[in-house]
Structures are given as C-alpha cells and as structure tokens.
Symmetry: C2
DNA sequence: CACCTATGTTACTAATTGGTAAGTTAGGAA
DNA sequence: TTCCTAACTTACCAATTAGTAACATAGGTG
C-alpha cells in the first residue's frame, strides 16, 4: 500500500491521496478542464473526459462548477492567472535598454512555446467572439505588469538615446506578441505550407529575427 | 415570377434557380461548409446547419462529400483556393522596392481583414494538429506566387542598395504574416485585455507600424 | 456515541447529432 | 411515349453527450 503525498496542508498532510478534499478536487478539475479545452476547443471538449482526467466523477464537477460554460470560463481565467504568474518571474529592471528588450522578446516567445495551452485558449476564445473574456473583470490588470516594465524600458532607452521617442508601449507589445505568437500558433500549417521545421533551432532563429526587427524599429 | 441567373452554363443558363443542378448544389454546400466551419470550428460545426445554409437536404451533402471530415477537408482546401485567387490580383512588378514592400504588407493585412474565414480555418486546423492540411497535396504551391514576388522585390531592393542582402523570403513573409495575422485573429481578446478598439482606424495605424517595422528591418 | 453536512458515486435521461434507408421526381435517351 | 439514371427528400436510427436524481459515506461537532 502506497502513499502519495501531494499538496497537503500542514495538519492534514501526508495521508493525502485518497482522503476527501474539496480543494484538491477543484484544482484537479480546473487543471483537467484547462488541458481539455485547450486541446479540443470549446465544442470539442468533453465533460466526461475532463472528469476522467481529473480522477473525479461528473456530478462533482457540476457541483463545484455550474455547467460547461462556467467551467470553460474558469479554465480561461486560470489560463490568464497562470500566464500572469509566469510573467512575474521576468525582471528587466537592471538591464541596459537594448538587452532588456531582447530579453523581453525571448521571454515572450519562450512563454508561448512552453505553455501552448495559452495560445489554444486565446484562439478558442476568439472563435467564440470573446464573449467569455469580456466577463472576466480583472483581465485588464493581468498584463499590466508587462506593460509597465515595457514602458520603463522604453523611457530609459529614449533618455539614453538608444531608442527613438513616441513609441506606444501597447502598440509595441502587440507587435512583439504577434511575432512570437504566430509561428507557434500556426506551427502545423507553416510546416505543411512552407516546409518549415518549426522546431527548437528554427524557433531560435526566428526569435533572433524578431529581436533584430524590434531593435531596428526602436532605433533612433 | 422571377428568374435568378447564377452560374449557369451557356446552354442551360437562365432558367437556373430551382432546376436540378449538381454543380450548383456542390458549390452551395462548399460555401456553406466554409462559413460554418470558420464560424464554429470543426467540432462546433453542425452538418444540419450546413445543409440548411446551402438550401439542400442532408443526404445530398453526404452524397457529394463523404462525411463530416471529408467536407471539412474540402472546406479547408477551398479556403486556400480562394486565398490564392485573391493573391493573384496583387501585382508588385513595376514598383520601387520600398513601395512594393509597403503594398505587400498592406495587401496582406487587408486580405486577412476582408476574409476572416481564412484565419478561422487556419486556427481550427492548427487546433486539430494539422492532420488535414497535410493531406492537401498541392498546398505548398498555393503561396508560391507570393514568395516568388517577394523574392523579386528583395533582389531588386538589394541591387538598388535600399535593402540589405541575406534576407530569406520565407522568413520575412512569416514575419509580415505574423504582424498582419495577430491583431485580426485576436481582435476580441485584444479589445478585452488592452482596451484597443480593433476597428478600421486602429488597424490602419497598426498597418503603418508594421510597414515601418519591415522597412527598417530591411534597410542596409 | 449519534448526528449531520460536505464529499463523493452509480445509474440514469432528454436532447442533440452524424449518418442512412427507402422512396420520389425531373428530364434526357431510346 | 417509355424508361432509366442522377438529383433530391422525408423520415428515421444509433451513438454521443450535457446534465441530474437518488443514493452512499467520511469525518468533524455536540
């Protein structure tokens, strides 16, 4: 008989795996939902599959989350929460403007590459017309940290005369995101149409092109 | 009593609308399928909805196309065919390299904007892992015209010393496509997260940024 | 202990949906 | 005219799937 000690609290820890634990069940359902919705889209996702992935019965799922749409909403929100958490690990404060900008582009690309469910969820949500993201009230704050950092880099770059003035940080971020998003989001069609191997070396090359494009765009 | 004369052949033309016409039915089904799959994705698309949109009964649809997957394949293929047809109208031959590059970016953006079903189909296909696009054998030829034109512009630009050498046309096209694709594909989430009005003036501004970014990237 | 609620399951239903069998009709060919 | 085939429809089925009712039990509280 084996014990699996995952995410137990101080007092009740250790005996975890098969005990009743609402928190753990909720987390498992949310994680499973994020995976399933990201892999198959909103209409393609199966409630039974989510329950099975979570190791939980269907009525539990309906108990904690209301129905498929509410679960989808929670999963989309979770995607943003996890992305925000990842972005907090990026620190560009001490770096020279050009190096900081390079790191930002590289980080964004690696972020998208290592968390493909984020791009999937965004595509799914845009297919649905953005009806759900509009309901997530604090979604605007989510990338504010990134924009703040980007603004600081731009300002420092301008005062050091390595960047030209008049660049809007949001516009710039959208262009950076575009360059990082597209080759990952469209990896399969790019492979088929242009015979690109969209693998790590190829993406690294593309990243360097993106960095160069951004730096040239910012040069005075 | 009114006549609707659409797509009739020389001999049988004129009496079109309600006569039996396999060609017309096939076309109607294909158009309806492209719309439905683009709007709702593969799993979200409904065969009944496609039949109704086409003004045709379901068994007709199964008669001409085999099943849902084959119809989806035909719709994806049709998306590429229509995009290719649109691209043939672009002619950059006589223009100065920089003007030609500007026109190419503007055209690409307008192309994506005016045919949103193309972006939808690409996103849907990438969600499915590209399993279908791989089966469309001549998909590689589809954008070859564009790449050929781009190569010529680059060469002219290099020999006129307005572009630097060593730029790979496919890499460049992917970056142009990225800059044009992203704000349209992700319009709804951009509106929600960054409060961008992704409307015509905003897209025009973004297009100018993209043009400038590309031209600066190409400058010697 | 006895109780009670939160946690959990089995087994089901109603509706949707991809797909089809069987039949109907238009219109050209003989 | 009389066939005969391709074009087309109605009416259905089997499987899937979101959602639920009814039941079971762990484990803290009085």
């Amino acid at each position: 008989m084996r014990h699996r000690c995952l995410s137990g609290e101080a007092a009740t820890a250790g005996t975890a795996s098969k005990k009743r634990d609402a928190q753990r069940s909720k987390r498992a359902i949310l994680d499973a939902a994020l995976s399933e919705f990201a892999e198959r889209g909103h209409a393609g996702a199966r409630i039974d599959a989510i329950a099975e992935r979570a190791g939980v019965s269907k009525p539990m799922l309906y108990n904690y989350f209301g129905d498929k749409d509410e679960l989808y909403t929670a999963a989309l929100r979770e995607a943003y929460v996890q992305i925000r958490a990842g972005e907090r690990e990026l620190d560009l404060a001490g770096k020279a403007p050009e190096a900081a900008m390079r790191d930002l582009v590289a980080f964004t690309m690696e972020h998208f590459r290592s968390k493909p469910w984020f791009i999937s969820m965004l595509n799914t949500e845009n297919l649905l017309g953005g009806q759900t993201v509009r309901k997530i009230k604090d979604v605007g704050e989510i990338q504010s940290h990134l924009i703040t950092m980007l603004t600081r880099i731009l300002n420092r770059g301008v005062s050091q005369r390595v960047f030209r003035p008049g660049i809007d940080p949001v516009d710039l971020y959208i262009m950076i995101a575009a360059l990082c998003y597209f080759p990952i989001s469209n990896a399969h069609t790019l492979r088929a149409v242009f015979r690109c191997p969209v693998d790590e070396p190829w993406l690294n090359r593309h990243r360097e092109h993106a960095v160069e494009m951004v730096l040239r765009y910012l040069a005075p």
